[in-house]
């Protein structure tokens, strides 16, 4: 499978990842090579094999629904680029 620059642009949009137009062709070439490597696995017979998501098919452990954390909003928001009155600021989304 080889990817075109247009396809890379579409994937980058899905990932909300800014890629310069000038670099799309380079990425297309590099990603196509990686997909070429990946597709070697198509030769494997996997009929009836259970997909493995985690070592030992571990599943998430559940805990009781109790409050375990105290309010640390101020501390946690110190790392934010823009906050006001305890809220994260983003550009206006509704006109």
């Amino acid at each position: 499978m080889s990817l075109t620059p247009e396809e890379v642009e579409k994937i980058a949009h899905l990932a909300r990842l800014g890629v310069d137009d000038a670099e799309l062709a380079e990425y297309a070439g590099e990603l196509s090579k990686v997909l070429g490597l990946v597709e070697l696995m198509n030769a494997a017979e996997t009929e009836g094999i259970e997909p493995m998501a985690h070592p030992g098919h571990a599943s998430n452990r559940l805990r009781d629904d109790l409050v375990t954390e105290s309010d640390k909003r101020e501390l946690l928001q110190q790392a934010a680029p823009a906050v006001e009155k305890g809220l994260f600021l983003v550009p206006k989304v509704i006109e």
Partner: protein, 494 residues
């Protein structure tokens, strides 16, 4: 004193022939003198390190030692890979995205090692978000290999490896998603262990591929790794895949290694697929003679087969990017991390913040992962890779029905020259051909030095079944009692 390994440093602290403060100042001085050239550190915490050392010295005086109170790490200076969150200290993960990020909390590994009394000298350089095998993907610049500055130290824990090899500290933490502890350990002449998935908490360890990521120690001997691992391992309710199982007394397990015929009855398997095309003949020879050494200690060696070995790298480059594309979606320029200037709308904010904050390799992997998970391609890539992952895991279980430990090379070559593989991601990825399978299966695996080829270290890799870290450490320790490869020091850092 800088050339002492962790056990020796601990003995000196115990007998108080040196104080933690003296030791800390000595290592800080070495970093100051040598690291401008090596670039192994992103952040050096001189002031807080000295304070921590003073606290440790007080505790040592009160307890009358360290070893008698079973605190072998009390007062020992170490370095943390910059992937571990450290409260009040910049935690960059090697990325521009987190260049401005000061963590509000400590990772469990950091907390546990601090509780054990270690002194944090600073945070080590790494490939951005742990994606890389050469440490050339760091926003903070490439790291030199102490054995040859023009060569890479390996990655992604390249800064940790270079710092220990250059004798800036006796041990460091690393993380291993596809070989990121074992490959740099091999390239820099260290011993590094990736434990079983779930053995060490991932809480506060910035996520790359959550079903593969595992932390571990990097040090100069298996014995030193055992000391570190004992403090790092353990159940943590804050990590939902942490395994609730008691931590073994790894050091105690090493005592047997001192007997003659220490490895009597140990069954070692050599996968025929490891000794094939792509392996540097000098490495093959080194590994074969290391295996003979293990045989002389009583081990029985036999050939085994891992028939899907050739599918490890392909399956990994679906699973790891898929998980990374999901994990790294949290970096959105809103709550923490890099934000672009004057975004016109929310989409522009996301795209430019991420486009500016991430480097090229991280972008490549996000794109591959997004593609593999996108509608219409999920079954062909992600689901297929998960099935292949099961086949790879089954191969190991088949092999472990016949042998206790699988031995082989850690890397196909010794440390390569800087910039020699940066233009070709596929050739870079193939570097991890022997290390990736342990991550896919979740098995414990160790790399230890077993030779020098043209003046560069060669790593022997040993892999065992789930939670059999003790057996790996004991086998490696037995080898190190008979050989001196692990005590070799890069000539410029003696």
């Amino acid at each position: 004193m800088h050339d002492k390994n962790l056990r020796e440093v601990a003995e000196h602290l115990d007998s108080r022939s040196i104080s933690s403060e003296e030791l800390t100042r000595l290592f800080l001085q070495r970093i100051d003198t040598h690291d401008a050239a090596l670039n192994s550190m992103i952040t050096v915490c001189a002031e807080s390190a000295i304070q921590q050392a003073q606290v440790a010295d007080k505790a040592i005086a009160e307890a009358g030692g360290t070893l008698s109170v079973n605190k072998p790490l009390l007062g020992v200076p170490i370095v943390h890979k910059d992937i571990f969150c450290t409260k009040g200290v910049k935690t960059s993960c090697g990325s521009r995205m987190l260049d401005n990020f000061v963590s509000p909390y400590d990772a469990t590994v950091v907390e546990k090692l601090a509780d054990a009394g270690t002194v944090m000298l600073g945070k080590a350089n790494m490939d951005e978000f742990a994606m890389g095998s050469s440490n050339e993907n760091s926003y903070f610049g490439a790291v030199g290999n102490p054995w040859d500055q023009n060569r890479v130290p390996g990655g992604s824990s390249g800064g940790s490896a270079a710092a220990v090899a250059a004798r800036f500290c006796p041990a460091a933490t690393g993380t291993d998603t596809g070989g990121s502890i074992r490959q740099p350990a091999a390239f820099c002449g260290l011993t590094g262990i990736k434990p079983t998935y779930g053995r060490i908490s991932r809480y506060g360890m910035i996520a790359f591929a959550s079903s593969l990521d595992q932390a571990g120690p990097m040090a100069r001997s298996a014995e030193d790794c055992a000391i570190m691992l004992e403090s790092m391992a353990g159940f943590d309710p804050r990590d939902s895949t942490s395994v609730d199982r008691p931590v073994e007394n790894y050091r105690q397990q090493l005592v047997d290694a001192e007997q003659p015929n220490a490895l009597q009855g140990l069954r070692i398997g050599l996968p025929e697929e490891y000794f094939a095309e792509g392996l540097d003949p000098a490495i093959a020879t080194a590994v074969e003679s290391a295996v003979k050494e293990l045989e002389a200690l009583g081990a029985v060696v036999k050939s085994v087969s891992l028939p899907n070995q050739h599918l490890c790298v392909p399956a990994y480059y679906v699973v790891a990017p898929a998980e990374c594309s999901s994990n790294l979606s949290r970096f959105d320029g809103v709550r923490f991390g890099h934000r672009c200037e004057s975004p016109v709308d929310l989409e522009d904010l996301y795209k430019r913040s991420r486009g500016e904050g991430f480097g090229r390799e991280v972008k490549r992997r996000i794109l591959i992962g997004t593609y593999a998970l996108s509608a219409g391609y999920y079954d062909a890539y992600y689901l297929k890779a998960q099935k292949v992952r099961q086949l790879i895991s089954d191969d190991f279980q088949q092999a472990f029905s016949e042998v206790d430990v699988i031995a082989g090379p850690a890397t196909p070559t010794t440390a390569f020259e800087k910039n020699s593989k940066t233009d070709d991601p596929v050739s870079m990825y193939l570097n991890d051909l022997y290390t990736i399978s342990a991550n896919l299966a979740g098995l414990p695996s160790i790399s230890l030095p077993c030779a020098l080829a043209d003046g560069l270290p060669v790593g022997l890799q040993l892999t065992a079944n789930y939670f059999d870290e003790s057996r790996l450490l004991k086998t490696a320790h037995s080898f190190q009692l008979q050989t001196d490869w692990h005590t070799q020091c890069p000539p410029d850092y003696v």
